[in-house]
């Protein structure tokens, strides 16, 4: 089930704004896709649809052969277990230990959440959590409270939590946007290393065109809710990616039209 198919997806919000218009693409198993587009281009909405937090108005989104848009929350859960997520703001439970946060990654795969509590978890599970932490180089901070760590470290803990889940697909929403350039690069390096060694399918939103070019294997660009770029590594230049960001957003062109009208 480690491919993602987005088929003719349109999303219209109750207030009438259309965030996505007929977006279609397929992410192949093991492919590393970077999703680009400036704020308001619809990429966050697309990302929410892919991760199942929003339902598209029309169209389908498939993990493998399973259309997730028609599933109830309960039926969607087993599919979600295979999809790990990394967020811009880490989304750790800041007042719990690093160790506990990583253990929570296994919540979907456990019978009950109680089995993921640090004091109830099996020895194997506790050991696995430590191995995941070790993979991101933070085993020595396992006992710390999550909010005592730096931003880069917190994102690495979030990656360890994602590993704990044993995902086949990774969805990353601007994973380095809240980090300084150096920490951002380290996190990106680590994330991509892990994803490659486990041959995971990735969809990653990025804003930094340079980093996108360095890591991405395929580039999907959105503008005003439409798919305007879908190219693989080598076919695309930095200029092209930058143009995507320099295009006028609908709001700006709307403002200009208003200005000339007056």
């Amino acid at each position: 089930m480690n491919s993602i198919t987005v088929n003719e997806v349109t999303k219209t919000f109750p207030d009438g704004t259309t965030a996505l218009t007929n977006v279609s693409f397929t992410v192949n198993p093991g492919e590393g896709v970077v999703l680009l587009g400036h704020n308001g281009s619809g990429k966050s909405t697309l990302f929410k649809c892919i991760s199942g937090f929003e339902k598209p108005t029309t169209g389908e989104i498939k993990y493998g052969d399973h259309d997730i848009t028609t599933l109830s929350k309960r039926k969607f859960r087993p599919l979600r277990k295979k999809v790990g997520m990394v967020f811009q703001d880490f989304h750790l439970i800041y007042n719990l230990s690093v160790f506990q946060n990583v253990l929570f990654g296994a919540m979907g795969n456990s019978k009950t959440f109680v089995q993921t509590l640090a004091f109830c978890a099996s020895d194997d599970m506790r050991m696995k959590a430590m191995e995941c932490l070790d993979r991101v180089g933070l085993a020595h901070l396992a006992k710390r409270r999550a909010d005592q760590l730096s931003g880069g470290q917190q994102q690495r803990v979030a990656i360890a939590r994602m590993l704990m889940q044993d995902p086949e697909i990774v969805l990353a929403d601007e994973p380095i946007a809240s980090l300084d350039p150096r920490a951002g690069r380290e996190v990106m390096e680590l994330l991509w290393e892990i994803v490659r060694e486990r041959k995971l399918t990735v969809v990653c939103i990025l804003h930094q065109t340079e980093i996108a070019l360095e890591y991405g294997e395929r580039f999907i660009g959105l503008h005003s809710g439409k798919l305007v770029m879908d190219q693989i590594k080598g076919q695309v230049s930095k200029e092209e990616l930058t143009t995507l960001y320099n295009k006028e957003s609908t709001f700006e062109s709307f403002q200009k039209a208003g200005a000339t009208h007056e």
């Binding site: 991760s51 199942g52 937090f53 859960r77 087993p78 599919l79 979600r80 277990k81 295979k82 999809v83 790990g84 997520m85 967020f87 703001d89 989304h91 750790l92 439970i93 800041y94 007042n95 719990l96 929570f104 990654g105 296994a106 919540m107 979907g108 795969n109 456990s110 009950t112 959440f113 993921t116 979030a158 939590r161 889940q165 969805l171």
Partner: protein
């Protein structure tokens, strides 16, 4: 220029009809209230005389029954402690059911909200009367009263805290495919924990004050001693009781605010 003058807001605005009616209603009810309670300067001066009589016969406080007073005070403390602890624990699931972001459905949410506000709206002395009739005189009725009182207070504030918890961590757990219960227990409850403890301690302070007067209607504790002392006009003993209440309530409040500061 004249255009601007027309657009300028006036210095004063005529209050709306509703406002005027409201003011009239308030003033007349206030006046009638004063008249009805027969508030006169005469009664106030004689009241001061009576008060002086109470104070002079209350001094010095009489410590002769200190041991039975103390054990009644200890019972009050127990009522507050047991009642608050049970109430806080029950408040958690109730608050989860009553919060917009964690409730399984709207019907349950509205129903639990209604139940909690009923518990809060009916004053504790009335609950105590009801429980005294149901389970008989004594500390048990007091404990039940404090439980209801605590739920009315805590479930509401817990629920407010739950509703303002950051969505992110919950989404992170939800995205692992975990159940609703797991998401709530793993993210919402830990994130709200400090606030829950703070509210719980505050509820305990409130409970000890409430438990003091519960004895007046027979629900156990120091209240009944106080009521008896007044009926028998043994004001010196009454003063002793009041002093003891003061000491215990202040001690509990100090202790609880110290713990609260440490946690938050």
């Amino acid at each position: 220029m004249s255009n601007l003058r027309q657009q300028m807001p006036p210095r004063f605005k005529m209050p709306s009809l509703g406002t005027i009616l409201l003011i009239i209603a308030f003033v007349s009810l206030f006046y009638l209230g004063l008249r009805h309670a027969d508030v006169t300067f005469d009664r106030l001066t004689s009241g001061i005389g009576n008060m002086f009589h109470f104070v002079s016969s209350a001094f010095p406080p009489d410590p002769s029954r200190i041991s039975s007073i103390s054990s009644a005070m200890y019972e009050t403390f127990q009522i507050a402690l047991v009642g608050t602890a049970i109430g806080v624990v029950l408040s958690l699931p109730i608050a989860v059911l009553a919060s917009r972001n964690t409730s399984p459905n709207n019907f349950i949410r509205v129903a639990t909200r209604g139940m909690v506000s009923t518990m809060r709206t009916i004053p504790d002395l009335i609950w105590a009367l009801i429980f005294v009739i149901s389970v008989g005189l004594g500390a048990f009725a007091g404990i039940l009263t404090i439980i209801v009182d605590t739920i009315g207070f805590c479930a509401r504030f817990f629920s407010e805290r739950i509703e303002e918890v950051d969505k992110g961590p919950s989404q992170a757990l939800e995205s692992t495919g975990s159940s609703r219960l797991g998401v709530i227990s793993g993210s919402v409850l830990p994130l709200g924990f400090a606030s829950f403890v703070g509210t719980g301690l505050y509820a305990f302070e409130k409970s000890i004050r409430a438990a003091v007067v519960l004895g007046l209607v027979g629900a156990g504790g120091i209240g009944v001693e106080l009521s008896t002392a007044f009926t028998l006009r043994r004001f010196d003993e009454a003063l002793m009781i009041i002093i003891l209440i003061l000491v215990v309530v202040i001690a509990v409040e100090q202790l609880s605010s110290t713990i609260r500061k440490k946690i938050i």
